[in-house]
């Protein structure tokens, strides 16, 4: 059983997540998907805009890992593990894009949209701070997206556009093994990092900022 401070952070994160999650459903592109009106070009646009986020994702995690000081070596391992896992994802995303009629050079040369710019500027800034464990809040949001949202979006896209699993594998693959990740996350949270003054509040606030900037990224599809 987790201690009460960990429990309070978990409550804060879950509340931020649910707000974020229901707000996301009102973003024009997602609303369109939920209404059953998605077009193939919408899917291509989603992939193009998402690729930058995925590539940058492994970079900020690696930066965060390098900002962790020696006394927190255990926790650093969690960041590193994530960086490795995320690193391969963009290949799958590119293959999905090509399988629905996109050109590889278009996706590899695409510019970040203005929401992605804002999100990553923030992430890098935070990742450069010493012991940036507040980024656990960011991971909670971004992991939550993969585990709770992406699979549903993938299934809807597959159905609406009559695609094969292999053409939406990036979205579908992310929805696996939810509970393990959650337990691992809780273990890290309870591993002593909350002893850093103000870290509990900072984790929840960072989750809120990242949720808002992530939504901005989806709202600003194609806006470069």
């Amino acid at each position: 059983m987790a201690d009460s401070q960990t429990q309070a952070v978990m409550r804060g994160l879950i509340k931020i997540w649910t707000d974020f999650s229901s707000e996301l459903d009102t973003v024009p592109l997602i609303d369109k998907l939920l209404r059953g009106k998605f077009r193939i070009e919408d899917y291509r646009q989603l992939l193009v805009n998402h690729r930058q986020q995925v590539i940058e994702g492994s970079r900020w995690i690696a930066r965060a890992a390098s900002s962790v000081t020696g006394e927190y070596a255990e926790q650093r391992a969690l960041f590193l593990k994530h960086a490795v896992a995320e690193h391969r994802d963009y290949k799958m995303l590119e293959a999905n894009y090509v399988s629905v009629g996109g050109k590889l050079e278009d996706i590899t040369h695409a510019e970040k949209n203005i929401g992605t710019e804002a999100l990553h500027a923030f992430m890098y800034q935070r990742a450069s701070d010493p012991n940036p464990f507040d980024l656990l809040g960011a991971m909670f949001i971004i992991e939550g997206l993969g585990q709770k949202k992406a699979g549903g979006w993938g299934s809807l896209i597959k159905k609406q556009l009559s695609l094969e699993d292999g053409q939406v594998s990036f979205l579908l693959y992310h929805s696996a093994n939810d509970e393990d990740h959650m337990r691992q996350f809780e273990t890290t949270l309870a591993s002593g990092i909350l002893g850093i003054a103000g870290m509990d509040r900072k984790i929840v606030k960072t989750a809120k900022i990242v949720g808002r900037l992530y939504r901005l990224q989806l709202e600003e599809m194609g806006s470069v």
């Binding site: 429990q7 409550r11 649910t18 999650s21 229901s22 707000e23 459903d25 509970e179 959650m182």
Partner: protein, 374 residues
């Protein structure tokens, strides 16, 4: 400000309990054949028995207002006060008997009490908490001293075959969709009521109302459980806009429909409301002795239980009290019918805290109420 107590609870469940096998004897066979989704619906909602205010030919035996009045009389009988002391009446229901005027007027008439203030609340299940909250605030503020609150539903009359057989899209396939049929095997009839006063009972326990917290999330969700509107590709068409009610019926605008995908998306928002009340100190998990939820613990998926546990917010399932499985899901009446049985069973002791929870998928509404046995 006055303290406010629930001093009497009453329930009215029409006729005899109807078992799962006998449901279609009362509801009838749509397009002359047994429902395709009956067993699937019952497996999901786990209801074993319910009551209908219909005879076997489908004729109404009661009215929603009549059942509400009967439940209020039962609540009064269980209280230390009397009918003539009621000075405020709040009613709640998903649908009243007629379109105009509100159900509260009819309940007042059926009660046979002198002139009083009334208020009518119409939504879905959570309208019950709206009605209780209005009575609670009226008494707390000193505007009145004794209030009757009811929740009543007569859903089965809208589940008879004729309601569906006139819908053109259904007539073509001679089938009705799961999202409509599920509700036929989930909702049933009955009424419940509470009598509220500004002082506790002197000879028996009372339930002191600590607070009622209701939140609507309609700004972020489409309507999920709808009636009186046809949802088409061009948007919504309300039943009154078809030029003729028969055309509305043919278009399916008079059918009650539940969107399950949308409902699943609402669950985290309800959980979030609950966590927020813990953070605000309104709910203290270790102090809760009973949970009366209109949402069953079976509906909570494993991942939510894991989350609630991590957040220090899971309440032991042995503390959950429900009679949804034996009395049916009676919408706005359910929370009263649950509390009535919990009170009548006689296990409540002074100081016990009861957390009531009434979510409403209609357009994402959620309410909690904290009671303490006094």
């Amino acid at each position: 400000m006055n303290d406010v107590y629930i001093n009497g609870l009453g329930a009215f469940l029409p006729g005899v309990p109807v078992t799962n096998d006998d449901m279609e004897d009362c509801l009838g066979l749509v397009f002359g054949k047994p429902s395709k989704y009956r067993s699937l619906s019952l497996k999901q909602n786990r209801i074993k028995a319910r009551h209908y205010a219909l005879d076997k030919q489908g004729n109404p035996l009661h009215s929603s207002s009549g059942m509400a009045a009967a439940a209020i009389h039962a609540a009064l009988k269980n209280s230390e006060t009397a009918l003539q002391n009621i000075d405020y009446l709040a009613t709640s229901a998903t649908l009243g008997d007629g379109l105009v005027p509100g159900l509260a007027s009819h309940v007042h008439a059926a009660l046979g009490v002198e002139e009083i203030e009334i208020a009518n609340f119409q939504s879905v299940c959570a309208s019950a908490l709206m009605a209780i909250k209005s009575a609670y605030m009226q008494l707390k503020a000193g505007e009145h001293n004794c209030a009757a609150v009811s929740g009543s539903e007569f859903a089965s009359r809208y589940f008879r075959p004729g309601n569906y057989e006139c819908v053109e899209a259904y007539a073509k396939t001679r089938e009705i969709p799961f999202q409509a049929d599920f509700l036929r095997f989930t909702l049933s009839d009955g009424a419940g009521a509470a009598v509220l006063e500004t002082k506790p009972n002197s000879r028996q326990i009372s339930l002191k109302i600590h607070w009622i917290d209701i939140r609507s999330h309609a700004h972020r969700f489409e309507a999920c459980m709808v009636g009186g509107v046809a949802k088409g590709d061009e948007g919504w068409r309300y039943w009154g806009g078809f030029g003729d009610p028969l055309a509305a019926a043919k278009a399916g605008a008079l059918i009650l429909i539940q969107d399950f995908d949308l409902m699943k998306r609402m669950l985290p928002v309800w959980v979030s409301h609950y966590l927020d009340l813990i953070d605000k100190g309104r709910i203290v998990i270790d102090e809760i002795d009973y949970v009366c939820s209109h949402y069953s613990s079976h509906g909570l998926r494993e991942e939510i239980i894991v989350l609630l546990t991590q957040a220090g917010a899971m309440i032991d399932e042995r503390k959950w009290f429900t009679n949804l499985y034996t009395k049916g899901n009676t919408g706005a009446a359910s929370i009263f019918i649950m509390l009535e049985e919990l009170y009548r069973e006689g296990n409540l002791k002074k100081g016990d805290k009861i957390l009531c929870h009434v979510p409403e998928s209609g357009r994402c509404l959620n309410g909690f109420m904290l009671l303490e046995v006094a």
